[in-house]
Amino acid sequence: MRAAIGIGISIVVAAAGIFAFSPRIPESLAERNIPINNMNITSLSSSAAGLVAAGELGHILVSKDDGQSWNFAEIDKQRHALITRLHFQNDTLGFATGHEGWILRTEDGGESWSEVSFDKERNEPILDIKQLPSGRWVGIGGFGKLVSSDDQGKHWNIEPPPNGTDWHLNALLSSDDAQSWLIAGEAGTVFRSLDQGESWEPLPEFYHGSFYGGLHLGGENWLLYGMRGNLFRTSDNGESWQKLDFTIPISIFAHEFLNDGSVLLAGQGGMILRSSDNGQSFQMVYRGGRMSVTDLQPLENGDLIMSSDSGVQSVALSNLLN
C-alpha cells in the first residue's frame, strides 16, 4: 500500500518531466499580410467595390473598410509589371495602366480585372488614360507612347506620338467640359488640344524640367506641377504661363480637390500643399517623412488616404485644413 503512494509520486514526477520537456511552442506572430505600408502604390481610386489601390508588381488591392484591410483583386494574367495609374469612368468601369503597355479593364469596380493589352516587346509604360468626348479611349505614356481604343477599351491600337515626340508623356488632363485638353510631359513637354482631344499642338517651352501632372481650375485656368517645386499657372488656356512663388524643391506627383473648393498637391518628402485661392498660391500643410506621395483620396469619414512609394497612409483632413 505504502509503495503504491511512492510509485504514484514517481509516476507524477516522470509525467511532469515529460510535460516540461515536451516541445515548447513560442507565441506565434501575426499571419502574413499584404505589405500595404511597405510597397510602392502609385494610384488610388474609389469605386463600387470600395477603395482601390495599385502599383508594385502589378498588384491591385481592394479595401471595403476605408483602407483598414486590403485584399488582392483578381487579375486574369498577372504580368508583374508596375501599375502606374487607375482610372474609373464610373462606379464599375475602370482601367489600370502599367509598364510594358499593360492595360487591365474591370467592369465590377475593380474586384476582377482582365488584360486588354500587353506588349512585352516594347517596354514603354502607359502613364495615363482617359475617354474623349467622341467616346474614343486614349492612353499616353513613356517615350511618346500613344494608344487608343474605340470599343470601350476592349482592344487597343498604337498611334503615332503627337508631333513625333519621344519624351515621356506623364499626364492627360481635360477641362471640366472636356472641350480643351493638355498633355504634360518630360522636359517641359506640353501639348494642347482645343478640339476635344482630337488633335494636339505643342506649346512653346516655358520650363525645361519635367511636368508630372496638372489640373483644370475652371474657365481658362490650369495648373501644371513638376520637379523641384515648379508650379505653373495659366489663365488663358495655356497661351501664357506664370511660375508660382513656391520655394521647396520637391517633385510633385499628385493633386486632389476637396469639398471646400481648396486644392491639395502632394509629392516628395511626404509633403502636402494646399491652396484655397484656386491655385494662385500654395502652403505646405503636411510633411510625412521620406516617402514620395503618388496619389490622394479623400474619404467620407474625414480622412485623407495617401498612396506613396512606401505604402498607403492616412491623415485626418481636419489636420490639414486649419
Binding site: A3, I7, I9, S10, A20, R32, N33, N38, T42, G209
Partner: protein
C-alpha cells in the same frame, strides 16, 4: 563516489585490481618518475595552448542552412564591418565646428586601423559619399563635404543640405541628426604583413580611438564583429582570474575539511594534474581553448578534488587504524579503483551525451571533457596512491571530531525523513516544487533572449553601443540571408525571370510579421531605375527588356553585397525585428512556405545565412538535441543505477529527484531569462551526469546498511554519517568552482556557471531530502536476518552490491 565492487573473493576483477595495486606500489619509484616526467612534458606543451574565440565552431555544420551559408556566406561583404559612431551631447545637431573636426579625426583614425580595407572607409568626409539631385538639366552631384570645406555658417549649412540630399540620414548620419559614424570593412588578411587580421589588435586600436576622441560633448560607440571578437577574447583571458579564485576557495574548504595541510596540498596538486595533462594534450591534437571548453579545466579540477578527497579519506582512515602509509595506499587503491572509476565513467557519460548536439564547439567540449576524465582516472587512481605511500600524516589531522559512540545530531535529526510522517512532508514540498517548476519551465525560450550580441552581457559596453546605434540609425542588426543560385545564364541580374523572382520574394517578405525590411538586388535595382527617371515612383519597376534592366545594373555590383560577380549567387537579405526564437521560427517558416511554391528555371533558392540564419539553424539543432540528450542521459543513468543496485526502488530513489532538479533547472532558466541554447543545453546533461553521483553514493551506503538488518532510518543515518559530509563538501566545492563564472564578462559563460552551480548544489539537496522520503514511501525495508558469513564479507567498507542477488541463509 558510486561505490560499486564485486566482492566475491576470487573474481577476475578483484584479482586484476589486486594485481595492479601490488604492481603500482612495488614499482612506485618507476611509476612516480614516469608520471612526473609526463607532467613536465605536458606542462611544456601546455604553454602552446592558444585561445580561440571559436565563432566558426558555433555553427551546426550539418544543418542544410549552414551548408548554404558556408558555401556562400563568405562571398558577401558586410559581415566584417566596423562602425565608429560619434554622438554629439551638446546643444543642437552635429553641424558644428567641434563635431565636424572630431568626425574628420575619426575618419582618419579608422583609415589607419591595421587590416582595414581602406577603399571601404565611409563617412561624411570620404569622397565616395556623394549626393545626387535631379535638376532640369539632368543629374547634379558632388561630395557631401567638399574638399575646400570650412566649418563656418555657410559651409555647415551647405553640408547639412548635401547630407539630406545624399540619403545618408539613417545610414552615416543618425535620424535625429545628433550622431554621425565612420564605417569600414576589415580584410581577412593584413595587406601590409600578409598575416591573418588580428581582431584583438583591431579591437584594442578601436578602444584607443574611443579614448582619443571622446570628450564632454562627444560620446563614442563602436560596434562590429572585430570588436565582439576582441571583447570575447578579453573575457576569455579573464577567466584565468576565476580559476585562481576557485582554486583559492577550494583550498580553504579542503583545509577546513581535512585539517591537514599536507592532505590539502596533495588533493589540490593531484586535482591539478589532469588539468595540466589535458592542457598539454590540447595543442597536440590541434584543439584550442574556446569560451565553452574553458569550462572543462574547472570541471576536471572540481571533480578531481572530490575524488582526491575520497582517496585521502580512505587512506587516512586506514592509517588511523594503524596501517603503514604504504599499506594504506595500496588498500585505498584497492577499495576505490572500481567505484571511483565507475563514478568517473558516469561523469564521462554526461560529457559524451552532449555530443548529440550537432555543433563543433560542443563536440570539442565533449571530447575535451572525456579526455580530462580519462586522465583523471590515471592521475587520481594511480599517481595519488604513490604519493600517499610516501606521506606521513601530521598530528592535527588525528584529532577529528569523529566520535562513533554518540550520534551526530544534525544527521540523526535529518534521518527522520526516512519515517513516514516527515517523508510525507518532504514529498509534499517536492510536489509543490514540481508543480511550480513544471509550470514555470513551460515558458522557457529557445535561443538568445534580449537584444544585442548574445555572447556579451546586455549591460556590456558593446551592447550599450549596439543599442545606441540600432536606435538612432536605420541599420538592421539581425539579418537572415536567402541565396538564389543561378546557372547557365550570362548575367542573371539582367535576366527578367530571375530578377522578377527576387522582386516577388522581396515584396512577399515585406508582408511577414517580424520582418523589419528586405534588401535585394531587385529592390535596389528598381530604386536605381526610378532614380534614372527623375526619382519618379511610377518608374520604380523592372521591365522584361534587357536594355531596361541595365538601367538598374549598378545594384548588381558585388560591392553592394547583394550578388556576386555575374550574379551567379544572389543574396537576398531579410532584416528581422529581433533574434528571438519566435521571430526566427515564424520568419524562416514563412520563407520555407513561400519558397516551396516557387520555381525558377536553372535556379535554386537556398536557406539561409546571416546571423539570424545561423541562429535559426542553431536553435533547431538545440531543440532536436534536447529530447535526444535527455532520453539518452536518463536511460543511461537508469541503467547504471540498475546495475549498481539491482533494485527498481533504488533506481526510482535516485532518478526521481534528478528529474525534479532537471525540471527546476529549466524553470530557473526561464525565471532568469536564460534561453535554451548551445551554451546551456550541455549544462543539463553535465548536471545530471555529475549530480547522479550523490544519489548513487548515498543509496549505495543505505542499501549496504539495510542488508545488515538495520532499519531504514538507521540505515539512512548511517549513509549520511559516512558519506553525507563528503557529498555536501563535494557539491559545495564543485558549485564554487563553476559558480565563479557567474561573474564572467561573457554572457554564456555566466549562464553556464549559474546553472551548473545550481545543478550541483540542488542535486545534493535532492539526494539528502527526497531520497529517504521516497525510500520510505516506496517501502524500502531492511533485509531479513542475514547470514553471518555474508555479513562479515559485507562489513568491509566497500559496498556489497552484488550480494543482493545471493540467497540469504535461513
Amino acid at each position: 563516489m558510486a561505490n560499486q565492487s564485486n566482492n566475491s573473493p576470487g573474481s577476475f576483477v578483484d584479482r586484476f585490481v589486486d594485481g595492479i595495486a601490488r604492481l603500482l606500489i612495488s614499482k612506485r619509484r618507476f611509476f612516480g618518475v614516469l608520471f612526473i616526467l609526463m607532467t613536465i612534458g605536458f606542462s611544456y606543451s601546455a604553454m602552446q595552448t592558444r585561445f580561440d574565440a571559436g565563432f566558426n565552431k558555433l555553427i551546426p555544420m550539418n544543418h542544410d542552412y549552414m551548408k548554404a551559408f558556408l558555401d556562400h556566406g563568405p562571398k558577401f561583404s558586410g559581415a566584417n564591418r566596423i562602425m565608429v559612431n560619434l554622438q554629439w551631447k551638446g546643444e543642437g545637431d552635429i553641424y558644428n565646428p567641434e563635431f565636424m573636426a572630431q568626425l574628420k579625426k575619426a575618419t582618419d583614425e579608422v583609415f589607419f586601423i591595421p587590416g582595414v580595407n581602406r577603399t571601404t572607409v565611409r563617412s561624411l568626409y570620404t569622397p565616395e559619399v556623394r549626393y545626387v539631385e535631379v535638376t532640369e538639366f539632368g543629374f547634379m552631384g558632388s561630395e557631401v563635404i567638399p574638399s575646400r570645406f570650412t566649418a563656418d555658417e555657410a559651409g555647415l549649412s551647405a553640408v547639412r543640405s548635401n547630407v539630406n540630399k545624399s540619403g545618408q540620414v539613417g545610414n552615416l548620419v543618425s535620424t535625429d541628426l545628433k550622431s554621425a559614424m565612420v564605417q569600414a570593412e576589415l580584410l581577412e588578411f593584413d595587406q601590409a604583413t600578409g598575416d591573418k587580421t588580428n581582431y584583438r589588435a583591431v579591437a584594442a586600436h578601436l578602444e584607443s580611438i574611443r579614448t582619443a576622441l571622446a570628450n564632454d560633448n562627444i560620446e563614442v560607440s563602436i560596434i562590429g564583429f572585430a570588436k565582439v571578437m576582441g571583447d570575447v577574447m578579453d573575457g576569455l583571458v579573464n577567466v584565468l582570474i576565476f580559476f585562481i579564485v576557485a582554486f583559492g576557495i577550494t583550498m580553504a574548504l579542503l583545509w577546513a575539511y581535512s585539517r591537514s595541510l599536507k592532505l590539502t596540498l596533495l588533493a589540490i596538486a593531484v586535482a591539478l594534474l589532469p588539468v595540466i595533462w589535458l592542457m598539454g594534450t590540447l595543442p597536440l591534437i590541434g584543439y584550442g581553448i574556446d569560451p565553452m571548453s574553458v569550462l572543462v579545466p574547472f570541471l576536471i579540477f572540481s571533480i578531481g578534488v572530490s575524488h582526491a578527497v575520497q582517496m585521502t579519506n580512505t587512506w587516512k582512515q586506514d592509517v588511523l587504524m594503524g596501517m603503514t602509509p604504504i599499506d594504506a595506499a595500496e588498500s585505498a587503491f584497492r577499495k576505490l579503483a572500481i567505484p571511483g572509476t565507475v563514478a568517473l565513467l558516469a561523469n564521462a557519460l554526461g560529457f559524451m551525451v552532449i555530443m548529440v548536439i550537432d555543433i563543433p564547439m560542443v563536440h570539442e567540449l565533449g571530447v575535451t571533457a572525456c579526455l580530462g576524465v580519462a586522465m583523471m582516472i590515471v592521475t587520481n587512481k594511480m599517481f595519488m596512491p604513490i604519493i600517499l605511500s610516501h606521506l606521513k600524516l601530521e598530528n592535527m589531522a588525528f584529532s577529528g571530531p569523529d566520535r562513533p559512540d554518540v550520534k551526530h545530531p544534525i544527521w540523526w535529526k535529518l534521518s527522520a525523513l526516512a519515517t513516514p510522517k516527515a517523508a510525507m512532508i518532504s514529498l509534499a514540498c517536492m510536489l509543490v516544487l514540481l508543480v511550480g517548476g513544471t509550470w514555470q519551465s513551460r515558458s522557457l525560450l529557445t535561443g538568445d533572449i534580449g537584444s544585442g550580441v548574445p555572447e556579451l552581457r546586455a549591460e556590456s559596453r558593446y551592447n550599450k553601443d549596439n543599442d545606441e546605434i540600432a536606435r538612432n540609425y536605420q541599420i538592421g542588426m539581425d539579418v537572415l540571408s536567402v541565396y538564389l543560385e543561378t546557372s547557365g545564364r550570362e548575367e542573371a541580374c539582367l535576366d527578367w525571370e530571375v530578377m522578377n523572382a527576387v522582386d516577388r520574394f522581396d515584396m512577399h517578405m515585406r508582408g511577414v510579421d517580424g520582418v523589419q525590411s528586405v534588401r535585394t538586388v531587385a529592390g535596389l535595382s528598381k530604386l536605381y531605375v526610378s532614380g534614372n527617371n527623375e526619382g519618379n515612383p511610377r518608374w520604380r519597376t523592372l521591365q522584361r527588356d534587357n536594355y531596361a534592366l541595365v538601367a538598374g545594373a549598378r545594384a548588381a555590383h558585388p560591392q553592394q553585397g547583394l550578388s556576386d560577380n555575374g550574379c551567379k549567387i544572389i543574396n537576398m537579405m531579410v532584416y528581422l525585428d529581433d533574434h528571438q526564437d519566435a521571430t526566427l521560427k515564424h520568419v524562416s517558416g514563412e520563407i520555407q512556405k513561400y519558397l516551396a511554391e516557387q520555381s525558377v528555371s536553372d535556379a535554386t533558392f537556398r536557406m539561409a545565412g546571416g546571423n539570424a540564419g545561423v541562429a535559426v539553424a542553431t536553435n533547431q539543432a538545440v531543440e532536436t538535441a534536447e529530447a535526444q540528450m535527455l532520453t539518452a542521459i536518463f536511460s543511461a543513468i537508469t541503467l547504471l543505477c540498475w546495475i549498481t543496485f539491482r533494485s527498481w526502488r533504488g533506481v526510482l530513489c535516485v532518478v526521481v529527484p534528478l528529474i525534479l532538479v532537471t525540471i527546476l533547472c529549466n524553470a530557473l532558466m526561464s525565471l532568469l531569462g536564460i534561453g535554451l541554447k548551445v551554451a546551456t543545453l550541455p549544462v543539463i546533461a553535465l548536471g545530471v551526469g555529475v549530480g547522479v553521483d550523490y544519489g548513487i553514493y548515498i543509496y549505495e551506503s543505505l542499501q549496504h546498511s539495510l542488508k545488515q538488518g538495520h532499519s531504514l532510518r538507521e540505515s539512512f543515518y548511517e549513509a549520511m554519517y559516512r558519506r553525507g559530509t563528503a557529498a555536501v563538501f563535494t557539491a559545495v566545492t564543485m558549485s564554487i568552482g563553476v559558480g565563479t563564472w557567474a561573474f564572467s564578462a561573457l554572457k554564456f559563460q555566466a549562464d553556464m556557471g549559474i546553472l551548473l552551480a545550481f545543478m550541483f548544489l540542488v542535486n545534493v539537496l535532492g539526494a539528502i531530502f527526497l531520497l529517504p522520503a521516497l525510500a520510505c514511501w516506496l517501502d524500502v525495508k531492511p533485509e531479513r536476518k542475514v547470514n553471518k558469513t555474508i555479513k562479515v564479507e559485507t562489513s568491509k567498507d566497500t559496498g556489497g552490491v552484488f550480494e543482493a542477488s545471493e540467497m540469504p541463509v535461513k
